[in-house]
Amino acid sequence: MKTGPSLIQFVQQHRAHLAALAQAWLETGANTFGIYGEQGWLAVWPQAPSVTQPAVCAPLIINGETIAELWVIGIQQPGIQIRLQIDADTLLRMASLEADLERMTNELITSQDQLVALFTMSDSMRSRLRLDDALAALTRESSRALKAEAVCGYLVNDPPLVAQDPQPIYTPEHLRLFLEHVEQSGGRFILNAAEHGNVLPHQMQHALIEPILIREKLVGILVALRLEDPFGSHDTKLMRAVCDQAAAQFENVMLYQESLLRTRMQTEMQLAKDVQLHLLPQRLPSVSGLDVAAAALPALQVGGDFYDFIEQPGEPFIFTVGDVTGKGMPAAMLMAMIRTLMRSKARGLNRPSPVDVLGAVNDEMYDDFTEIGMFATAFVGQYDPRERVVYYANAGHSPVIYCPAGGSAQILEADGTAIGVLPVCNCENQVIPFQPGDVLVVGTDGFSEAHNAQGELFGNERLCALIESLADQPAQHMLNELYSVVAAFGAGHAQDDDQTVIILKGVRD
């Protein structure tokens, strides 16, 4: 028998019950009832007897060990021993139930603590917009939930992200090796000082290494370290919960970062589009004898189509239309180059013919185009109001449609290859009369190759018929009709390619 603090505690906790038992015994004739331990009476009713008297005893046995005895003095009846033993057993059962209850209550409190810690961790991570901040929040907030002395987090990134709380335990290289081990072994692992002392610095005795998985992909690890208690199954479950929570938060941060990047790129594309739109003429030219309309509608935010007007006092009016192969940013950049070059050649050369302009541009850009693996079709026209003719050269560009007043529309086919295909321009200067009522439409293949839901192309024949039917209208009206008819043809089908057009119509001065 022993009288440790637990026994004293036992008596204190059950004093009321013991008092009730004493009352019952005293009422049935006993003169003393009490609980007797190694050191003597622990509790006794009504008071300790002054002299030793014969007593009936029943042991209180916990875990096979007698911790104390119930004593009854001054009563001699059959069955007393059994009654006292029943009292002792009942007392013990109650004690055991109470202990269970207390343990369960403690566990509940611990779980609740951990839940609160888990919630605090998620909450703290949720407000982070950057991965490194979120990782720091995770290591800082998870040590409480995990009852760990230190926590290290490692996220695969470029460069890898590391956070450790309260102080650095491992080098990033160490943590990367842990991650590799997780990857190879397929899951968590536990280290203890007895077996793996060399990988447990700072007197840490136990380490639990758990993978952080986003959609089953290993993105990092969390390492919890303890000075004393080993990690049990409860801890591993909790660690899994922490890592799952953390993974969800990391995924949110990543999605946010992606959407940020996307927004930034969209903004830049919008800027590029604005720049490109400003490269196009901001107003229509005023040329005696001509009614002019022009427009460009890129399929993507930026495109490879361009048109330009070059007006110089005393010089013939020059207009250009071109289409760089491909789409998007690369095409847009080349478009800007070729448009500028064409403008400078048209202005810089002494009364250049269309072929002079195309030839000079091809000379300058052939190497660049070869390097990049692209080319550009281009049309250069030159209207001379005195002669009322249009000189032109066509480097692989289509469609170009000429509709003389009252006549039928026809395709003016290119005679030379596109710019950037051959080292030397093989175009020739052509000439068409341009009297009042004559119409010239220089478009890009976004019109002729527009297609409907059935995959049928709009085609050059439809285009010619349309121009012919509109030839008596003002240039701007023709242009509006052209766009709306082609859009109606492809209704429900996204515009595939840029649609750019210049319409020239001969008018009386």
Binding site: D323, T325, G326, K327, T370, G373, M374, F375, T377, A395, G396, H397, S398, P399, E413, A414, D415, G416, T417, A418, G420, V421, L422, N426, D445, E449
Partner: protein
């Protein structure tokens, strides 16, 4: 688009089928790059190609330039009508050597 290839007398013949557009272009670009490490004599039989776009055309031009740089050529044969029209509109028929069938194309490469 699918591509089947065959080596004949130091030249390589590739037979293309289906749509040849911006989506398929990178595949042919890298194929041409790989082949020209061995030989600059390439025949593209396009009798199975029913559509071609400008990105695809630029792949052909790029391949043609590369082969000619290496004293060879990239020639084309078997154009369907609607594809031939595209070559004519852009006047690429003046830059690329185009033949009726594989035999003529091969003979042109010597």
């Amino acid at each position: 688009m699918d591509v089947t290839t065959q080596a004949v007398n130091g030249a390589v013949i590739a037979k293309l089928n289906g749509r040849f557009d911006a989506l398929e272009a990178p595949k042919l670009t890298s194929w041409i790059e790989k082949v020209t490490e061995r030989t600059p004599h390439i025949v593209l039989n396009m009798d199975g190609v029913n559509f071609i776009d400008s990105t695809a055309l630029s792949v052909l031009v790029k391949g043609m330039k590369r082969c000619r740089q290496l004293q060879g050529d990239l020639v084309i044969c078997g154009l369907q009508k609607q594809v031939r029209v595209i070559f004519e509109l852009t006047r690429l028929d003046k830059a690329l050597n185009i033949y009726g069938d594989e035999l003529q194309a091969l003979q042109s490469l010597g």
